[in-house]
């Protein structure tokens, strides 16, 4: 390839970052991460935002002491990898959605009832999207069986399937859970396929027998808990009694007995619950969780539990401190429990470039107690978002409408953002609660996401430079 003198190039959509003393670029249109040489970095530096004519650029590079050969090679490689591009006149062509996309995961809301009344729950309160009136409160066996049958039919071609049990409080319908596990294992096995299971629970109803079942069946468990007693104060019973003292001994028992899969904690951050590091220490060191993940509460702005922007900055600082710990651990080949980093690095390592923020209505759907199908568990029981029923299947036109709205191409605000390969506009449910449209980009956390993604890129780059063997964990993770 010959780079012509009179031609003008400009930096493509790249995000530059530095890690372990090395320069990297993250290619937003592809999701690729490249380490770059000093000459290539200098080309990008000299290029500036507006782009340069190649003869001018060459002259400046030579004046800066780079050899003509190095400059030519760097230019050729940067252009071939599209780190440099000609100024665009046309947007890149839109990729068509696949006509059929078999399901991979099913979330079964076994009940919409819960024995806790957490103050921030999206299933209740002013921001709820569910319309459960007149619908069953608990899923019955007929509906559960039909859900599994629907799932097996709609996932044709997939060898490994995943069922997640959810609620309400999942364990309030434990007898049904057991039946579903046995039935789904047998039905999938008869087709030469395998299903694995996971559930989310508030831990209040765990018993030795239930824990034994979960361990024996290798069922992944995520416990919703917000930290030590003073941080867990919004997770209360209906009469206002705190739940911490009830769940702590049960969680210890669960962690001691259930060793077949890592048990994770899932923390919801709210206005008064933002001490991430203290929460993390408590959950990992005092209780013994192997994975801890955080997410800010979903709420409209008017809500009392909504986290203010000052607090979001504090959360980000604490996330970054924990990410530094993660890096230190990774360089010594130790696992670190902060799963927000693990999840992001797994996606960076793969180089994902998402059409949609998540698999909702694509490879994943949620099913409510009535058998109604929703894009995910968060939309279960909502008449507005219903996509069909397990007895009649998915309404393809409703599904297509949901996916069209949520597609990154439809989110114009995202088109100039380098973090879109991973974020893709953010949670559909959060968007609906905030903006009344599942396809609206979550503009309230753009800066936050970019800073966090940049931090994870730096952690990833440093691991890739200093201990690349550690990344093999992510190869295996993907394979499983």
């Amino acid at each position: 390839m010959k780079v012509l003198e009179a031609e003008t190039y400009q930096a493509g959509e790249v995000h530059r970052f530095e890690a372990a003393g090395q320069e990297f670029v993250y290619l937003a249109p592809a999701g690729g991460i490249f380490g770059i040489s000093a000459a290539a970095a200098a080309v990008l530096e000299t290029m500036g935002a507006a782009g340069r004519r190649m003869d001018e650029l060459r002259a400046e590079m030579r004046a800066a002491g780079f050899s003509a050969g190095d400059v030519e090679e760097a230019l050729e490689e940067l252009i071939e990898a599209r780190v440099l591009e000609r100024p665009r006149t046309l947007p890149p062509p839109r990729q068509k959605m696949p006509e059929r996309f078999p399901l991979q995961s099913l979330v079964m809301n076994l009940t919409n009832q819960c024995n806790l009344s957490c103050k921030y729950c999206y299933e209740y309160g002013e921001d709820k999207v569910a319309t459960p009136d007149g619908k069953p409160k608990f899923m019955d066996w007929e509906t559960a069986k039909a859900s599994v049958d629907f799932f097996l039919q709609d996932s044709a071609g997939r060898e490994r399937l995943h069922i997640t049990f959810f609620g309400g409080e999942t364990l309030m319908n434990f007898p049904l859970l057991k039946k579903v596990v046995d039935y789904a294992e047998a039905a999938a096995g008869a087709q030469g396929r395998a299903v694995d299971f996971s559930l989310t629970t508030n831990a209040t109803l765990l018993t030795p027998a239930i824990i034994g079942f979960l361990a024996d069946k290798r069922i992944g468990v995520t416990v919703s808990i917000d930290g030590p007693p003073d941080m867990n104060k919004l997770r209360v019973f209906a009469n206002g009694r705190p739940s911490y003292d009830v769940i702590a001994p049960k969680i210890r028992e669960l962690l001691a007995r259930h060793r077949t899969r890592p048990v994770g904690a899932r923390v919801t951050l709210t206005a008064e619950v933002t001490d991430c590091i203290r929460i993390f220490r408590h959950l990992t060191e005092d209780l013994g969780f192997q994975e801890v993940g955080f997410a800010p509460v979903t709420s409209s702005q008017k809500n009392l539990v909504t986290i203010g922007s000052g607090k979001m900055d504090s959360i980000l600082e604490q996330f970054c401190a924990l990410a530094d710990e993660y890096l230190a651990a990774a360089l010594e080949n130790r696992q670190h429990a902060f799963s927000n980093v693990t999840d992001t690095i797994a996606e960076l390592h793969e180089g994902v470039n998402k059409s949609h923020p998540c698999g909702a209505a694509l490879g994943l759907v949620g099913v409510g107690p009535s058998g109604d199908i929703a894009p995910c568990h968060r939309f279960v029981d909502s008449d507005t978002h219903k996509l069909g029923n397990v007895f009649t299947g998915i309404d393809r036109s409703k599904q297509a409408d949901f996916l069209e709205r949520g597609h990154i191409d439809a989110k114009y605000d995202c088109h100039t953002c380098w973090a879109r390969p991973l974020c893709a506009g953010g949670c559909h449910h959060e968007a609906y609660v905030r903006y009344g449209d599942t396809g609206h980009p979550n503009l309230h956390y753009c800066d936050w996401i970019r800073t966090w993604t940049d931090k994870c890129l730096r952690v990833y780059g440093a691991i890739a430079a200093q201990n690349p063997g550690f990344l093999e964990h992510f190869e295996r993770r993907k394979a499983s």
Partner: protein, 115 residues
Amino acid sequence: MKHLRAVNRKAVRVAGEIDAAAADVHALQEGAPPQPKPVPHYPVGCTIVFSPGWEVDSSGGTAGLCQPAERDLYDCYATCFWPAQVPDHLNNYPDWTKKCASATKDWREIDLVFP
């Protein structure tokens, strides 16, 4: 690549595409490029330099053809027997191939011209 180092899996794939494109250029001059058999990787090169007539054999190479692709280039240039996209030797660009002693080795020295 010397200045870019693929780090994640997507970058490895991007680099693979770039290498495959480079292999197209090699296919034009020195037989089949290194690639998995039995499916040949046919070059998708341009006709700016190599005028109509360049072809590949069933393995993607040019070595086994009765006339090398470069032959077409020179026929067009020197004799103008075909209205191809190459400069003409007779009137306007008598020195176009001066730096190119052997077409199969030095063809990169033949530059584009802008009439």
